[in-house]
């Protein structure tokens, strides 16, 4: 009888392997992708134990639960398999160890069950996921009973048979679930960590958030059917455990726009699978009508397809979902590649976005305004335009320069640069849009044209580094223009101003009294990992700084990214209203911002009680107060 448990384990492993291979047939429908298997395999333990754990640990209960249940399950199963070796099978100490491992699994299974019964939290999916604790309990308690019987040397055949049968019921169920049930996340997740499409995100440096350049000569542009996705992207979607962390973080979901990143990933899974189980999580809010699910590998987006275009255009590309996903899924890459097909091949962009893209193409500026008018904000203040001479700092003005409100911020910044005697200049009429917006809207052709033109312009001038107050421009210039062979040192104005203060070139006085909360721009925090410089700078101003519940890398978007303001998909609420309400909860009288888009979005909130001020404006006020 000592061979019953190891035999069960071997059958389970065989069944799980068969189920994995059946599933792998679907992954192989995807397009080819280069994967560094060796390096990925070697890095797997670190990616799992450090990177995944770092995210999982944000939910203390889930983290403990997962450590106990997954650790117990693996240990118990491996140990039980060893009973096939003759000396072990007869050792009662060994069976006591097996019993201990099954006991740990059982405790974990109870934790899993307690989270889902009697009431399941909204963000978790039901359906097949509700069976998971039952299977775990059966496997764990069956294994525990069998191991205990053997450990105590109880030779009751009926009892042992009953225990192993219970374990077999649970264990084979778990193995069977590897293809399309909850246990898929374990196998697909491990493979996904090995074959991750963005291995650089595990290197520990700045986030790897630059979109991959699209080959504009490819026969088909963007993703139309799931088969256009790389196979390891299809694999990555299978890793989803439907934990709903992305959904809780998504600003569009919170605002009642028809987007739910979890549902989107599940729709992409279902779009590539013939017999996927019905989705049992939260729906797209205010879901638009789409045609009944079409056959697999059909086009994904459309009013007559699985995902409504409004879902696609609701995304602000804020990356909050990517930041929160314990399975390291890259939602934004998927969304942008789907948008690329809509925009480039079908010309199916929302009307207002189409007008903006027309402007970008024909006027190199998204409002269709003259490039020379970009410097008008200075209103006579000294603003040197770059010439032959090399300057220390090239000031990239960005779109905000055309905005009346944001002009105040830029004037403050220019004034500070002049006060600190920084050797700087602007490009003047030579500065075009970076193409960031076109890129997020999927118009890679316009983006690449603008990027090439900007790279050529910058190559004609000599400067040591670029300073910009626009995190979107910063991300494009610093990270995305690398694909065009251009490497610049790009500094955000908050980091640069902090440098000036630390060098003593600017002497802030105390503003005193007021309390301030800082809203992290997505493209600075999550896209570039810069969350500290703005805070350090604010702390120098003698302000009372309080944090919103969501801040730093986990901050919530203002609603202004990814072309969302021009796509303008209606929801129940507006994202900036939600964010300002979060700011109001802190009681701070000032919301400090560091991005022209955040400024416009948050200042556009009606009935707000707090002032919206850029950090440059606050620093200028404090420097002037200190004199």
């Amino acid at each position: 009888m000592t061979y019953a448990l190891p035999a069960l384990v071997f059958v389970m492993v065989a069944l799980a392997t068969v189920q994995t291979l059946r599933r792998a047939a679907w992954w192989r429908l995807g397009a080819a992708a280069p994967v560094a298997w060796g390096a990925g395999l070697l890095a797997l333990p670190k990616r799992y134990l450090v990177d995944v754990h770092h995210v999982v640990a944000r939910d203390a209960y889930a983290s403990r639960m997962h450590a106990v249940v997954a650790g117990g399950l693996l240990a118990a199963t491996l140990l039980a398999a060893l009973a096939a070796l003759p000396p072990l099978g007869g050792s009662r100490i060994y069976w006591a160890a097996v019993a201990l491992a099954f006991g740990v699994t059982a405790a974990g299974a109870v934790l899993v069950g307690a989270r889902r019964y009697p009431k399941r939290p909204k963000r978790l999916s039901g359906g097949g996921f509700q069976i998971l604790p039952v299977l775990l309990l059966a496997y764990a308690f069956g294994g525990l009973a069998a191991a205990l019987l053997l450990a105590f040397g109880v030779a009751s055949a009926p009892a042992l048979v009953a225990a192993v049968a219970l374990a077999a019921g649970g264990g084979l169920g778990l193995a069977y679930e590897v293809r399309s049930g909850p246990m898929r996340h374990a196998v697909a997740g491990a493979l996904h960590l090995i074959a991750h499409p963005r291995p650089r995100r595990f290197d520990g440096g700045a986030p790897d958030a630059a979109l991959v350049a699209l080959d504009l000569d490819a026969p088909r542009l963007g993703v139309e059917t799931p088969a256009d996705l790389a196979w390891n992207r299809l694999l990555s979607f299978d890793a989803c455990i439907q934990c709903g962390r992305c959904e809780s973080a998504c600003p569009a979901f919170a605002a009642g726009q028809p987007l739910n990143p979890k549902r989107l990933i599940q729709d992409l899974v279902a779009a590539a699978t013939a017999d996927e189980r019905a989705y049992a999580g939260s729906p797209y809010p205010n879901a638009r009508d789409v045609a009944a699910p079409t056959e697999p590998l059909f086009r994904v987006i459309g009013e007559g397809a699985r995902i409504h275009p409004d879902t696609l255009w609701s995304c602000t590309t804020c990356r909050a979902c990517v930041e929160e996903c314990p399975m390291m899924i890259e939602h934004v890459d998927a969304i942008v590649s789907l948008r690329r097909h809509q925009t480039l091949e079908l010309g199916a962009v929302p009307a207002k976005a189409a007008a903006t893209l027309d402007n970008l193409r024909a006027a190199e500026e998204l409002g269709g305004r003259p490039l020379a008018a970009r410097v008008d904000f200075a209103a006579g203040a000294p603003l040197p335009v770059i010439g032959e001479r090399e300057v220390d700092v090239l000031l990239w003005l960005g779109e905000g320069a055309y905005d009346l409100r944001y002009g105040r911020t830029l004037r403050a910044l220019v004034k500070l640069l002049n006060m600190a005697k920084v050797d700087f200049a602007v490009l003047g009429a030579e500065e075009r849009d970076t193409g960031d917006l076109a890129r997020r809207l999927g118009d890679e052709a316009t983006y690449q044209t603008l990027a090439r033109a900007n790279v050529a312009t910058l190559a004609r001038h000599r400067f040591k580094r670029i300073v910009t107050s626009d995190p979107h421009a910063l991300h494009a210039l610093r990270n995305e223009y690398r694909a065009f062979g251009a490497t610049y040192e790009v500094v955000h104005h908050t980091a640069f101003l902090l440098e000036l203060v630390e060098q003593g070139r600017l002497a802030p006085g105390a503003l005193g009294g007021a309390s301030v909360t800082y809203h992290d721009p997505c493209y600075l925090g999550r896209y570039n990992g810069e969350t500290e410089a703005p805070r350090k700078l604010l702390d120098r101003l003698g302000l009372d700084r309080v944090e919103m519940a969501r801040h730093g890398r986990r901050s919530m978007c203002c609603g202004g990214g990814g072309g969302a303001p021009v796509s303008d998909i209606p929801g129940d609420a507006r994202i900036p209203d939600l964010r300002m309400a979060q700011a109001a909860e802190t009681g701070a009288g000032i919301v400090a911002v560091a991005c022209p888009t955040c400024t416009a979005m948050l200042e556009g909130v009606t009935g707000r009680t707090a002032e919206v001020k850029d950090i440059a404006e606050l620093l200028l006020a404090s420097v002037e107060a200190g004199r």
Binding site: L346, G347, V349, A351, L357, R361, D443, T446
Partner: protein, 259 residues
């Protein structure tokens, strides 16, 4: 119904960069409702109108001309050969040397009717007939029924152009078209003068009185504006009032008098 849309090498009004005039992009959308459509461009460089391929046009014929040559003879020859039922064009040019007169010159050369300021067109009830909606000042519009061949110029109130799709440009075709037409420089009959602001005359405004009085007189403000307000009228009465109003503003002809 065979449709040809005339394409010109326009410029963006602010940046001066090459761009397909918006009116022509609207013309492409409008023409799609009529039947198979081709683009036609006469000029030195076909690339200048390639954008039209991304707006829903799949084929363009290009008549190569030297810079500065008059496109009308070449276009007229090409159109005579193709014999389309409908020729679409923008109502004005949006480029360097354009006068906006090309559609008129072509209509004369082809002996076709020209309907300006079109906002919609669809095939009519019998073959060879087209139903056209024409924009009038102050947001009014009227429906016309015309017999082909016609030249239609498109008004900016026509439906928005279809968004540009880069991928469709790659699939579209531009085909060179040889025509035998004399190539002669465009007759420059226009003189350029710097813009001079002229005072606007307000018809019927009194010369004297204060500025406020003159404004009132010109805008019809001042005393309570005459308005016919009928509260829950009899349907017949209401219909009579509407008819009377429509006759008064000239939308309907005056009642035919017996005898």
């Amino acid at each position: 119904m065979k449709v040809v849309v005339l394409l010109s090498a326009g410029r963006h009004p602010v940046s001066g960069l090459g761009a397909l005039p918006r009116l022509e992009a609207q013309a492409i959308r409008l023409g799609a409702a009529l039947g198979p459509m081709r683009g036609l461009h006469a000029g030195p460089d076909a690339e200048a109108v390639a954008e039209a391929l991304g707006r829903g046009l799949s084929e363009i014929d290009h008549v190569a001309l030297g810079a500065g040559a008059d496109p009308v003879p070449a276009l007229a020859a090409a159109l005579r050969a193709a014999a389309p039922d409908v020729v679409l064009a923008g109502r004005r040019g949006q480029g360097g040397d354009e006068t906006g007169l090309v559609p008129y010159a072509l209509a004369r050369a082809l002996g076709a009717t020209l309907i300006p300021d079109v906002i919609a067109a669809r095939p009519g009830s019998e073959p060879g007939v087209i139903e056209v909606e024409q924009a009038l000042p102050k947001g009014a519009a009227r429906r016309l029924v015309v017999r082909s061949p016609v030249v239609l110029t498109v008004h900016s109130a026509a439906p928005e152009p279809r968004p540009y799709a880069f991928g469709q440009v790659r699939r579209g075709r531009i085909e060179p078209l040889a025509v035998s037409a004399p190539e002669e420089p465009a007759a420059v009959a226009i003189a350029e003068k710097p813009y001079r602001a002229r005072p606007k005359m307000m018809r019927g405004a009194p010369a004297g009185g204060s500025a406020a009085d003159r404004l009132k007189a010109a805008t019809g403000g001042g005393e309570a504006v005459q308005a016919d307000v009928m509260v829950s009228p009899e349907p017949r009465e209401a219909a009579r009032a509407i008819l009377a109003y429509l006759r008064q503003v000239g939308v309907l002809p005056p009642p035919a008098r017996a005898g």
